[in-house]
């Protein structure tokens, strides 16, 4: 334990953003403890607006844990404690005055396994707008559903069966339905926790294409095990290892010219 804590004063190697995008999420020395075990040892990173930031790293490195801090999904885990600062547009999201429900409406999430509600495709997408009262009328709601499905490039495949259960779709379609569901509440940030790990290559390609399109309107943070995927979809990449953020920078930079030996070792497949 003490050996691990000794490394908390850890310097992340950073390469600034050449595009100089505005910062959407600012985090400083974020620590997460599950009971006695510290899973994240102080992570500081700035996530730029309207870009895709990928978190990579070997299993158990804390990248998912960190992702789940950004919409306070860790609150639901008994014994989880989060320290440090996480700011969304200069607003501290762990501020006791901040409503977690409102935060999650602003920061949507797509999970590893597609998890559509066992309801119709329409109701899946309409659920968020309904509970947040985003639609004034039925026509409004229908419009939100259709645009969300269109944005998730799913509409053409499901337009004739909006009343059929969402669980009847294929894995890739289900995942895009989950993305549509997240988009429907018009969040500012979408967190994706290994969204393609349960999908086949064709479905993966579709989701990646979609992520690329979505970055025009949303800030996206994606956790992935596939380095190719990170290279394909992201503009910035952050490499996590053993609860530390080792290196972060522009994706092409991190993949072609990593400044840290461990990053180099990981992306070349020497460990992980």
């Amino acid at each position: 334990m003490s050996a691990v804590q000794a490394t908390t004063a850890f310097d992340t190697v950073r390469t600034p953003d050449p595009a100089n995008r505005p910062i959407k999420i600012h985090t400083a020395s974020v620590k997460v403890t599950y009971g006695q075990k510290e899973a994240l040892h102080g992570v500081s990173i700035d996530i730029p607006e309207r870009a895709v930031t990928a978190f990579i790293g070997p299993s158990g490195c804390g990248k998912s844990t960190f992702l789940r801090c950004i919409n306070r999904m860790n609150d639901t885990i008994a014994g989880a404690r989060v320290e440090g600062t996480i700011k969304l547009d200069d607003q501290d999201i762990y501020d006791p005055d901040l409503d977690v429900v409102e935060l999650r409406a602003r920061v949507g999430m797509v999970f590893q396994k597609p998890n559509p509600f066992p309801k119709s495709i329409f109701d899946n997408v309409a659920y968020g707008p309904r509970i947040h009262g985003l639609a004034r009328s039925k026509a409004d709601l229908e419009e939100i559903v259709v645009t969300s499905l269109q944005k998730a490039s799913l509409f053409n495949e499901v337009k004739d069966r909006l009343n059929e259960p969402g669980t009847g779709l294929s894995g890739g379609q289900q995942q895009r339905l989950c993305i549509a569901r997240a988009i429907a509440v018009s969040p500012e940030v979408i967190l994706m926790d290994e969204p393609c790990s349960a999908l086949d290559p064709i479905a993966t390609a579709k989701v990646e294409e979609l992520i690329d399109e979505l970055r025009a309107n949303f800030t996206i943070v994606i956790v992935t095990h596939s380095m190719q995927q990170a290279a394909r979809v992201s503009q910035r990449t952050a490499f996590f290892h053993l609860g530390h953020l080792i290196e972060e920078g522009p994706t092409d930079h991190v993949f072609t010219n990593p400044l840290e030996q461990r990053t180099q070792d990981y992306i070349t497949g020497r460990f992980g």
Binding site: T76, V101, G108, M109, I131, A182
Partner: protein, 445 residues
């Protein structure tokens, strides 16, 4: 054996490795034998269970099915106004008051005509009256009170035969045993045969079994009051234990912090499910009757006590059903910004509903058959009048079975079995409902 067959070519190809495989093959034989043995035990156990079940149901049905038919004696009754309303007042109150024995005279008159008995032969007339239920006169009286226009007419009336005549007709009192040990004497048999020949005596479906209340005369006794009592109790149990149990389990499973106290509560709920039900009966007696002064023998109190016995079952089933809902659904709900409450009620509970309903109906079925706590709160009473509200005295099906089982008459024995059949039919219906509901809710997803 396999070794001998496979080793010569094998050794040519692979050498030592192949010999190792054949060594494992010998162990396989033993393992397959163990599996076969286990299957045989299982099959044997199932067969024995089925045999017992068939024997149980066979004995209940073979004893009880006769109770669904009953011997009736139909006779033309002359509703003579000079006997019924000697002072000319035909109102219901007047019919109900006055000398009750005057209705016996009506019956005697029609019996005398039907059997063509010499009016002066009083003994024969009394023997004939012996065949009819002692409840016949009150029955006639309430019939007239309900419809005074009958007075002055002649009408065919179905009378109940006594339980003993009924038993004789159904063959459970046999004619070949000596007369001194027989409840139906030779002189009665003569009259019965005469009635049969005239077509006055016949077996009819026993509606009274379902509509009548308690009676000391088996032919007039039915499970009507017990059915209503059980129904009221089930309603009370359903209305109280379903919302309480489901809400309680949702709180414990989804909202309560996981710590020593909730662990203690969980252990104790499991313990409560194992507490003998008679203890709940004592609790109900002390709290609901002695302390809260609720009426004795009331189905409300029965329902309250059964709610206590059913709650642990429902809570355990509901918690199991909630636990079985994949956490990804909760994450999905929270992820789009639903509050915890919304997530639970919009997504988790609907998915858990089949399990919740199954648990509830199993709990209700259990409560329906519960006897001991009802004995403690006085639902083992002689109740003739239908309860109109849950506050009125009532009995329940299982306590009715218990009371009839202690009666010596043959007719009560078959009624006991018949009541068991009714109870089992209700349980079967409830369990089928549980299965249907489960299917219906599962198909939605």
């Amino acid at each position: 054996m396999t070794e001998a067959a496979s080793s010569p070519p094998a050794s040519r190809i692979g050498g030592t490795d192949v010999r190792k495989i054949s060594k494992i093959d010998i162990g396989l034989k033993r393992r397959y034998a163990a599996e076969r043995r286990f299957r045989t035990y299982g099959l044997l156990a199932v067969t024995i269970a089925i045999c017992f079940l068939v024997a149980l149901f066979g004995s209940i049905v073979s004893r009880g099915y006769t109770a669904f038919q009953q011997t009736r004696i139909s006779m033309i009754v002359d509703f003579d106004p000079s006997i019924i309303a000697p002072n000319g007042d035909r109102s219901a109150a007047a019919v109900m008051s006055g000398n009750a024995f005057r209705f016996d005279d009506l019956i005697a008159a029609s019996l005398q005509k039907t059997l063509e008995i010499d009016p002066n032969d009083e003994d024969a007339l009394y023997d004939g009256l012996d065949l009819l239920s002692k409840g016949s006169a009150p029955m006639l009286r309430s019939m007239i009170a309900a419809d005074p226009s009958l007075i002055g007419t002649k009408r065919s009336v179905d009378f109940y035969a006594t339980g003993d005549v009924d038993a004789f007709i159904k063959g459970s009192i046999r004619a070949d045993i000596p007369e001194s040990q027989r409840l139906i004497k030779d002189k009665h048999i003569v009259l019965i045969e005469k009635l049969e020949k005239e077509g006055a005596l016949r077996l009819a479906f026993n509606t009274g079994l379902f509509t009548n209340g308690a009676s000391t005369r088996p032919e007039m006794a039915g499970v009507g009051v017990a059915l209503v009592g059980s129904l009221y109790m089930m309603l009370v149990v359903l209305v109280l234990s379903l919302p309480l149990g489901v809400a309680g389990s949702i709180y414990l499973e989804e909202f309560a912090p996981k710590n020593r106290w909730t662990d203690l509560i969980e252990v104790n709920i499991n313990n409560l499910a194992a507490v003998p039900s008679i203890v709940y009966g004592l609790l109900g007696l002390a709290v609901f009757i002695n302390f809260a002064h609720l009426p004795r023998s009331a189905s409300l109190v029965g329902g309250l006590v059964l709610t206590l016995t059913t709650l642990p079952t429902i809570i355990i089933a509901t918690r199991a059903a909630l636990k079985a809902v994949p956490p990804s659904i909760r994450e999905a709900g929270l992820g789009v910004g639903a509050s915890k409450m919304q997530t639970v009620f919009h997504h988790v509970l609907p998915l858990a509903m089949p399990g919740v309903l199954t648990g509830t109906i199993i709990g209700l079925a259990h409560a329906l058959g519960e006897t001991a706590p009802l004995l403690m709160i006085g639902m083992k009473a002689f109740v003739v009048e239908y309860p109109t509200t849950p506050f009125d005295p009532a009995t329940a099906l299982p306590t009715q079975i218990y009371m009839w089982a202690t009666e010596p008459e043959r007719a009560f024995t078959e009624r006991t079995s018949a009541a068991i059949i009714v109870l089992l039919a209700f349980l079967l219906a409830m369990n089928s409902l549980a299965i249907i509901l489960r299917r219906a809710f599962e198909r939605r997803w």
